[in-house]
């Protein structure tokens, strides 16, 4: 129990005193999660739309596959990305290992199935009459896609927020391909893992709370996008 109190106090201290290590980790976390969210939304929303609206053979199989990919463990993603970007791997020449882009690639793989699966569900639960209406008003395919996404915005917001939670809290990928290098690729979660490994449970909790503070900030900034009650 003491850890929790200690963690709370420390979290404030870290943030208020501007602890440089913590701020470096915050910067890394925010930066890398921004990259990966942008990439997974740009790729995932159109794919989710196709999966939710389109009709094609084996659609249900693809759906099951995407759902299964929701259970892709971060360590596995970490290992697979590592296998590609390691010096001996096919992308070794780009020197991506232990860099932020490498983490972002892994996190994009992590977030993509979440965005696709939940966006597909959101698009599917749209009123069928919306599709008819858009088509009869003359929307072209691009406009049709965008208008569908806009009408499904509250569901997509949930998809984005869920994916963000996944990205923000993952450790496996950041550890494996980021390397948890101080000042460079140490994210808050890898820092938590490190502190916990050292037995500094209070510090671990403190950093965990710092992560929650980031999440809270982001979610508060989405507050105004929230669906107005009951319509």
């Amino acid at each position: 129990m003491n850890y929790i109190l200690e963690g709370l106090v420390k979290a404030f201290q870290l943030l208020l005193r501007g602890d440089p290590e913590t701020y470096s980790a915050i910067r890394v976390t925010v930066q890398v999660s921004t990259y990966s969210m942008l990439a997974s939304l740009c790729l995932g929303l159109p794919l989710g739309f196709l999966l939710g609206y389109g009709t094609f053979p084996l659609k249900k199989m693809v759906r099951t596959l995407v759902d299964t990919l929701l259970s892709l463990p971060t360590v596995l993603i970490g290992l697979i990305v590592y296998a590609f970007v390691s010096y001996r791997g096919p992308l070794g020449e780009y020197g991506l290992l232990f860099t932020l882009p490498a983490i972002a690639i892994g996190q994009t793989i992590l977030a993509l199935p979440v965005v696709v699966a939940l966006a597909a569900t959101a698009v599917e639960s749209l009123d069928q009459r919306l599709h008819t209406t858009l088509l009869t008003l003359g929307a072209n395919p691009r406009q049709f896609l965008l208008s569908n996404l806009w009408e499904a915005r509250f569901g997509l917001l949930a998809a984005g927020v869920a994916a963000y939670g996944r990205v923000l809290t993952e450790v496996g990928i950041s550890m494996m391909v980021g390397g948890n290098i101080k000042w460079h690729t140490r994210t808050i979660t890898t820092a938590v893992a490190l502190e916990t490994g050292k037995g500094q449970f209070g510090m671990g909790i403190a950093l965990g709370l710092v992560l929650m503070a980031i999440a809270l900030t982001v979610n508060l900034s989405l507050f105004f996008l929230r669906k107005r009650t009951r319509h």
């Binding site: 009459r129 088509l135 009869t136 008003l137 003359g138 208008s147 009408e151 319509h231």
Partner: protein, 340 residues
């Protein structure tokens, strides 16, 4: 005559086993206003969906302006617009809803004037309604906004699926005017499905009757359902609850359906006036309505629980003293029945 804007050839549309639409040959002339009537489930909405290229028929071909739709569905959709039976509004303000189709066509500025114009055509004061959100509308208001969304496009073809189903009488009159104005100003062709026969007859050049997916004629038909008892002399009979028997020509089978043109039905005050013995059914006159186009009067008489429509000239109506509420005799000849 100019080329048909729509030509349908050998259309069949099925949902599973159910044949929802089966039209062998049908054409719509440009600039005409066509009505579709028929009982629930007769295929009106299905036909309108085909005409708007939302769905492809299971079989057959629809030519739009002479060309097969395969090649030009997208461009055809820019000219053809459908008001759905259950209209749907985008989750935006009324203004943005009505402007959507214009924006989609690249009109990003100056649409406000056209939107306001379209709203006033359907009887919604723009200053009051333009800013409302989609959920701040009554049922009839929403339906009229949906119609405004289509009118604002000045489409070449306007397909309306029950445009007056939940609007008030004043608005129904406005919608009629808007339809006529569309044809006059932009040469719009209209196809309108509705259960409101009098309204439809006021608006349309011609009204087609759908039944079980087939077009069974134009004008206002009387439909008689089986079961039929086939008599020894080959004629068929239907017995009503009050004991009356309706006699018709030989029925293909006992569940067939008979159609009688209102012009073949007449209504008389005295049975004596009726020609011979055939059908002379006792009933009550329930309404008289003027048909704007023909200037003739549509008389509705109820026999047991069946409504018969007869089309008489106003001279006939007056001469025979046909009034709502009075007893009268409905007459037609068994051989005037068409079977489907």
């Amino acid at each position: 005559m100019t080329e048909s804007i729509y030509a349908l050839k050998g259309i069949r549309h099925c949902y599973g086993d159910l044949v929802a639409l089966s039209i062998d040959d049908f054409a719509v002339a440009p600039g005409s206003i066509i009505g579709l009537v028929g009982p629930n489930g007769s295929g009106k909405s299905t036909l309108l969906r085909m005409l708007s290229f939302l769905e492809k028929p299971s079989q057959g071909e629809i030519l739009f302006s002479g060309s097969s739709e395969e090649s030009s569905t997208r461009s055809a959709r820019l000219h053809v617009t459908l008001l759905d039976q259950e209209p749907y509004l985008l989750k935006r303000s009324v203004m943005e809803n009505v402007a959507y189709g214009l924006k989609v066509r690249g009109m990003r500025q100056g649409y406000a004037i056209r939107v306001k114009e379209a709203l006033s055509w359907v009887g919604l004061a723009p200053e009051e309604f333009a800013r409302r959100q989609w959920y701040e509308l009554s049922g009839g208001e929403a339906q009229r906004v949906a119609l405004a969304c289509r009118l604002v496009l000045h489409p070449r073809v306007l397909l309306l699926d029950e445009p007056t189903s939940s609007v008030d009488a004043t608005s129904a009159a406005l919608i009629k005017e808007a339809s006529l104005r569309a044809r006059q100003e932009w040469g719009t062709t209209l196809v309108i499905a509705s259960h409101d026969w009098p309204w439809l007859h006021e608006v349309c050049d011609e009204v087609f009757h759908l039944f079980r997916g087939s077009i069974i004629g134009s004008g206002m038909g009387n439909v008689l359902f089986g079961p039929w008892t086939i008599r020894a002399d080959g004629l068929a009979e239907k017995h009503l609850a009050d004991g009356t028997a309706i006699l018709v020509s030989a029925a293909p089978n006992e569940k067939s359906m008979a159609v009688i043109d209102p012009r073949s039905v007449s209504v008389h005050k005295a049975p004596a006036a009726t020609e011979g013995r055939a059908n002379t059914l006792a009933g009550t006159i329930s309404a008289l309505a003027l048909q704007k186009h023909s200037g003739r009067v549509l008389v509705t008489a109820t026999v047991d629980s069946i409504h018969f429509h007869a089309e008489l000239s106003s001279t006939e109506v007056r001469a025979r003293g046909v009034f709502p509420g009075e007893q009268a005799w409905v007459c037609f000849r068994p051989e005037d029945v068409r079977w489907i």
